[in-house]
Amino acid sequence: MKNIQKAIIMVLMFNSLFGIQILPKIKDPCSDPIIAVAKEKGLKGMNMVETIRYVRVEKACKNLGGHDETFYIIESKEYQRDYEQSRFMVSWTSTFSYCVGVAIFYYFALGWMAK
């Protein structure tokens, strides 16, 4: 048990140390260039490094009492765009869904009846 405690303390210490080195404090987060990148590419269009930067910038800016609306607009625009693109099924996709639904219904219904 003591070894586990030591291991946890060591991990936390290293994490803090590396955290300071790898993730330096963001200066002026509310006007960070990553916000413009997010507006241009969208959140899904950013790569992993950019996404991590964006999440940190968002948190830091909100902590400083910055504009929540900027981040809200970026996110809600993307949600709305995704929703508009996929709120209705197109062409064969609805037929496919019916087939899956029927297959699952028959599997469970017949299985239940067989018992």
């Binding site: 590419k41 969208g42 959140l43 899904k44 269009g45 790569n47 996404t51 996110e75 993307e78 949600y79 709305q80 995704d82 929703y83 693109q85 996929s86 709120r87 209705f88 099924m89 197109v90 062409s91 996709t93 609805s94 496919f96 869904s97 087939c99 899956v100 639904g101 297959a103 699952i104 599997y107 469970f108 299985g111």
Partner: protein, 203 residues
């Protein structure tokens, strides 16, 4: 992470294998990658694996380290739509290419002397050596699943899936070093399956 309930008679009907627990019978580790190729449709690869390992308790043997995996490799076509901006329903049909693998890490007996002779030339002391080999079996099947996905962020979602698997598994025709052998009996023909997934999306 998936949950299902197979009956692995080939292990449960004797006491030589590690004890059956939830983690080595009912839990499945899962990963997958999908590509949206059409409006409201994705295609991809998904793999569910059940793991078991431990020491075989056979009397008189070398008490080898035993490992068993059951992998359900899927090539799904998934259609979906959003009922709310953050909520998605999806429907999946997929063929299954299943594979089971049983490996033993056995201690060498007389044949280990050859190694020890070689090691002695370089001034080493004799070691207790081990050798690993595995028997395998493949089978085909199919699966249907319905999923409910909630997006925490536009690029990050949590998904619950419910469905069934149908596997055409036979204990005959296992393979071990080019030989055809009989393997353990698995009752995995018709199985309900539940899965929980964390989804990360890129464009």
């Amino acid at each position: 992470m998936g949950i299902y309930e197979p009956t692995l008679t080939g292990f449960d009907d004797n006491n030589q294998f590690p004890v059956a627990k939830v983690w080595n019978r009912n839990l499945l580790t899962n990963y997958g990658i999908y590509y949206q190729f059409f409006y409201n449709a994705r295609i991809g690869y998904s793999s569910y694996t059940s793991w078991d390992f431990g020491e075989m308790t056979s009397d008189g043997g070398s008490k080898p380290i035993f490992g068993r995996s059951l992998t359900y490799r899927m090539f799904p076509i998934e259609t979906y739509f959003r009922i709310k901006p953050k909520i998605e329903l999806n429907f999946t049909l997929t063929p299954i290419w299943g594979r089971s693998k049983i490996s033993l890490n056995t201690r060498l007996n007389e044949s280990g002397d050859d190694w020890n002779t070689l090691l002695a030339i370089y001034g080493n002391e004799a070691l207790e050596l081990a050798t690993t080999d595995a028997m395998r079996q493949d089978w085909m099947g199919y699966s249907g699943q319905i999923g409910f996905r909630y997006y925490l962020k536009t690029y990050l979602g949590l998904e619950l899936k419910l469905g069934f698997m149908h596997n055409y598994y036979s204990e005959k025709n296992w393979r071990l070093q080019g030989n055809k052998i009989t393997g353990p009996v698995y009752d995995i023909e018709k199985l309900p399956i539940f899965a929980f997934k964390v989804i990360y999306g890129l464009k």
